[in-house]
Structure formats: C-alpha cells, structure tokens
C-alpha cells in the first residue's frame, strides 16, 4: 500500500502541468522522487526546484563535496530512495568507494581528502547535536570557504526537507534500486 498518489497528466491543473512539462523537458525527462509528491503543491514544487537547481549547478561547491553532504543527509534521515539515487552520482563525482561504504554502515570513514573530513565532521555534529563547536566550524569554513559553507548548510537543509517529504509519503524505490541502507545499519544509525 503506497501513500503517494501520483497525479496523472490528464488530471493535472494548469500549474501542475506547467511544472511537469518543465521538468520533463530537463535532463531527468520525468518527475523524480520528491517532486512527484511536491507536485500536489505546484508552486512549492517550483520554489524547491529553484533552490535545488542552484545547489546542483550554480554554486561554488564541488560535486564531490555536494554529493557527500547529500549522502550524509540520506543516511541521517534513513531515506533509502535518496541514498540509492545519489550513491552512483557520488561515486562518479569522485568520492571513494570505501568512504561511501563506511557512510552506508554508519561508520566513521577514513577520509583521504581533508575537505571531505572537515565537511563530514561539520554535518554530523550539526545533525546530531544541533550545533557546531568553534573548531569544527573553523575547519569546515577553511576547507570550503564562507560561501561554500553556506551552500553546505543549505544543501543539508534542503535535502532534509526532501527526505522528510520522501519519508512522510513513503515514496517507493524506483526500478533497479536495491540493497536498502536499512539492511546496512551500524553504529550512528537511527534509534
């Protein structure tokens, strides 16, 4: 039993149809994951997409760091569909397999890149304690810059929103997606 009611193109309002057509014309050629849910509120879908487009293509962060943040977020919120759709992108962006495997298991990765270690420590501390210590903050800011750190926080925040949407509506895994992260639980995972 799925919670998500997908809106058929024939049943869309004009606003929904405009957003759907705009997304379908882009690289994904269809509505992905959270946007299937967000389409129920098409102006919200559009506003969320505008922020996401910036974070994915117009900011200063490297794809490698951005995808690291997205995986940390997906692991924190236990959002399997988000993890599974971003794991290949993270790998392609240059994140080590060993780092990805450790993140999936909730273990502390053995980072070879200092910027990854700094951003990971920052994100985990913020998610787990709601705060970051001076040293953690300074290390992350020095690694990615002030503007980059804003983008890290906003990526963590926007993807938290997407995770909540995906989790609340129990959006099912897409075709070809398997090995959910729930089967790889380790220390640092959910209660």
């Amino acid at each position: 039993m799925t919670r998500l009611t997908e809106i058929e193109t024939g049943a869309m309002t004009d606003e929904q149809r405009r957003f759907y057509d705009w997304m379908a014309a882009g690289p994904w050629e269809r509505l992905e994951g959270p946007f299937k849910v967000l389409l129920h509120s098409p102006r919200l879908a559009d506003a969320v997409n505008q922020v996401n487009q910036f974070l994915r293509g117009e900011g200063t962060l490297s794809k490698r760091i951005r995808e690291l943040v997205i995986l940390i977020n997906a692991r924190h919120w236990e959002t399997e569909i988000e993890w599974l759709s971003h794991e290949p992108q993270a790998r392609k962006a240059g994140l080590d397999d060993a780092v990805i495997a450790a993140l999936a298991q909730g273990l502390e990765p053995d980072f070879r890149a200092d910027d990854e270690a700094a951003v990971h420590a920052f994100c985990r501390e913020l998610l787990e304690t709601r705060w970051v210590a001076d040293a953690t903050f300074a290390r992350a800011r020095d690694a990615v810059g002030e503007e980059g750190l804003i983008e890290v926080v906003c990526t963590l925040g926007l993807y938290a929103m997407l995770s909540l949407v995906l989790n609340a509506f129990e959006v099912p895994l897409g075709p070809g997606m398997s090995t959910p992260i729930s089967e790889r639980r380790g220390p640092g995972g959910p209660r």
Partner: protein, 188 residues
C-alpha cells in the same frame, strides 16, 4: 555573538545589493540576521527567500498551524532565535500561549484544537523518528489533503534548514532576551 559580522548595505556589490533590497522591500520588510548570513551567496539567498515566501505568505495552510509547526521545529533544533522570531507571529495568528509554552518546556500540550494536536503529533513524530506512522498519516491526509500534508512537511523541513543556518553561524537571541527553552532537549 554571531560567527558572521552583519552586512552593511553600502558595502555590498551590485548583485548582492539587489537581493538585499528585494528582501527588504518584500513582505518581510527587513533583512533579518539569517538572511544576512545567506546573502554571502546572493543568488541562493534570493531563491531560498522565494521558497520561504511561498510557505509563509502564499500557501493556503492556516497561519496559526504553520507558525505552530515552526515553533515545534525551532524547539526540535534547539534554535532559540527561530523561536523568538516566530513566537509573536504564532500568538498573533491565534495559537494559544499555553500550547506554545508547553512546547518550549518540552511537554505535550493539552489541546482544545484538534488541528493543532494533529500538527503537533505529525511534526513531532517526523522530527524525532524521521517517519510518520500509518494512522497518523491517515489522520493528516483526511484533515489537510495531500497538498496540505506536503506543505506541512515542507514547513518542517524549511524551518529545520533555517535552524541549521542560525545555529551554524551562532545567530542567537538579542541581548537581554531569556532563553525560551527548558526541559529535555531532542537530539539524534
């Protein structure tokens, strides 16, 4: 003391000044400290403020329930600034003070309003367990329909993002304002 110094309008470059002015002249009427932090990335700030403007000023989700969800999120993320900024808006929109006070103290409020109770149950369970159970999802859907549940969920997420920004840059309470929170803290 914030980890970022305030922005001075006169020292901004043209692109940043344009976003600064768009925020200041919109319904918010000023560039609040979290937006001053965001303006280090002006294009991102502009898009985030559009998303926030939809949730706050355009969505059909009732004002007092939106503000209640924001207060629950502020408490869940231990973000006193967010609480302080939204508490007067919540009360002006019709949220009972006793309900807000209970949330500030980490207690479940006594509800006279079934919709407020539903927003509390949904938001609290989502923030604490990352999920909502079937019965609760069913109650929310029956009361708010899909667009309303999507928007309630987005409010929880958007204001969690703002709490992350505020807490990262240590944007705290104005001088002389007491910490609104007491009781148990929610952490992961």
């Amino acid at each position: 003391m914030s980890r970022l110094p305030p922005l001075e309008r006169s020292r901004l470059d043209e692109a940043t000044a344009a976003v600064f002015d768009a925020i200041a002249s919109g319904p918010r009427g000023r560039v609040s400290p979290p937006y001053q932090a965001l303006l280090r990335s002006p294009a991102l700030a502009g898009r985030i403020q559009s998303l926030g403007a939809f949730l706050r000023f355009e969505s059909a989700f009732p004002d007092h329930l939106r503000e209640f969800a924001i207060l629950i999120t502020a408490r869940a993320w231990n973000c006193a600034y967010e609480w302080h900024a939204h508490y007067p808006i919540a009360i002006a929109a019709g949220l009972a003070e006793a309900i807000a006070q209970a949330v500030a103290e980490g207690r479940r409020p006594d509800f006279a309003d079934a919709e407020a109770e539903l927003v509390y149950d949904f938001s609290t369970e989502l923030q604490e367990t990352r999920r909502v159970n079937d019965a609760l999802y069913g109650r929310a859907l029956a009361r708010f329909d899909e667009a309303g549940v999507v928007e309630l969920t987005a409010i929880n997420g958007y204001y969690a993002m703002f709490a992350m920004i505020l807490n990262t840059f240590e944007i705290g309470l104005p001088e002389g304002v007491a910490d609104p929170f007491s009781g148990p803290q929610i952490t992961s």
